[in-house]
Amino acid sequence: MAHGLANSSMKNPVLRWVDERLPVLTLLHKEYAAYPTPRNFNYFWNFGALAMVMLMVMIVTGIFLSMQYTAHVDHAFDSVERIMRDVNYGWLIRYIHMNGASFFFIAVFVHIFRGLYYGSYKKPRELLWILGVVILLLMMATAFMGYVLPWGQMSFWGATVITNLFSAIPAFGDQIVMWLWGGFSVDNPTLNRFFSLHYLLPFVIVGVVFLHVAALHITGSNNPLGIEPKGPQDTLPFHPYYTIKDTFGLGVFLIFYALFVFFAPNYLGHPDNYIPANPLVTPAHIVPEWYFLPFYAILRAVPDKLLGVILMFGSIAVLFILPWLDTSKVRSARFRPIYKWFFWVLVIDCFVLGWCGANPPEGIFVVLARLGTLYYFFHFLILLPILGKLERPLPLPKSISEPVLSPSPGGGRVASGATAKPMDKA
């Protein structure tokens, strides 16, 4: 079919007319309704959709906030206070946006660790995973620049510290930092460009998310068993099965989100950011937002400036090559008896690093942060390549539907006649 109209299954004549000329409805139906999805998703598979919803919430609230915000060092702080006090529902929109950043990161972190546990980064989903890491980097940049905009003390000093990371670059460091600032310190030009980029990057994220989903729909979703669907008996149409499951999960997620927005809106923030920026006084205890704490801990764990910066960026960079570091052919940790334990060690390690990042770099926290950093890189660079060779995985089920539809040896329970007949082609 080189030329002419596209085939459409639309019944409505107007929709059909459009769809034959621009088959977006067919595309939507194919990718979001009929899309064959493994039938055995658990609730960890909600978090991709939750992250997508959070991205939309952040963009909508951000657009409305930007209508009231003034990106100027003399007015930024006051304009945010005006949003809180004078703008109709400004307090609500700002608190949704502020806490939305945290809940976006919660959704994305769970999404990432789900990928780590079930081996979602392995062949053929390497590029899908890499696009996800790109999204994480863009999110981190966007969140950082957004935190600068209220121009409080934490905004100013966070911006100063993070931009100064680039001064560690040999030879050109100072020039690069001046270029980032547009001056000799964090000042009005810095605030203006951060506002511009903070508005731009979310739309770049939307673009990369589109590629992420497009790549996902080529390879198909991974699932808790980590084996490919063998046929239609292993999948369900995305709608209504997973639209409903995602909607239910979203409802639960939003309850926790709303709890923070309405009852503890400043719990995840820092009181110091309600003090206007003062370039002459640094707050006594300066920490980033919670979602950056593990990376911050890695930065401070190393007594060398350049090496600390390299390791901090390296902690993300290592994720890009993860699909080739993990040599195990088995995806799901359910069938990897040793990796399963190390996965949880990594989770605990990240929490310990976060805890160290939240505390002053002295005493026990220096030791813990160093051990945590050491384990983080050991896990990815040494353990995963070796473990794939040494570990003996458990036997994989023949198909996704087999454990459900076949008589189990223990109970002898046979699936009811209502479910599909098993047709294993494995």
């Binding site: 209508m67 009231q68 005006r82 006090r85 004078d86 703008v87 109709n88 529902y89 400004g90 609500l92």
Partner: protein
Amino acid sequence: MADITHSDKPAGEDTGPTRRDFLYLTTAAFGAIGTLGFVWPFVDSMNPAADTLALSSIDVDLSPIAAGQSITVTWRGKPVFIRHRTPGEILAAEETPVDELRDAQTDEERVEKPEWLIVVGICTHLGCVPLGQKPTDPRGDYGGWFCPCHGSHYDTSGRIRKGPAPQNLHVPEYVFLDDTDVRIG
């Protein structure tokens, strides 16, 4: 409750609402109300904020304005013309037959005190500011204001007399606090 796994409709009866219809409608209504509840704060955030509303009235001292003089004050971001009319201007405004006006209004309806005319200085055609405040400005054929954009002529009561504008210059809400102080808005 025992038969919820069976058909919602009793056998042989195929009209009337079912339990499923009820669930669909209540779910849809709940979703619609929730969506409206979510959308409203965003829509309302674009309405004038509290600090904007707080500046929505101004007090003007009229005592320095001599008869025949006009001043322009800014009220809600718009120019307001205050003219201390001369007895001749008042007479001209009052004696104009109302039935030959495009937007019929008597002069009494447009002023609190005959010597003080207070109007919003925005042409009702397409929003330009008419000329006539300065002594050197053209005041049009009727001695009031002349809009240079498309040639609307207003009289000494700010009423449209000639040109494309559909309405008289608007009269803002105002009260006289005493003989020489007025609060607009």
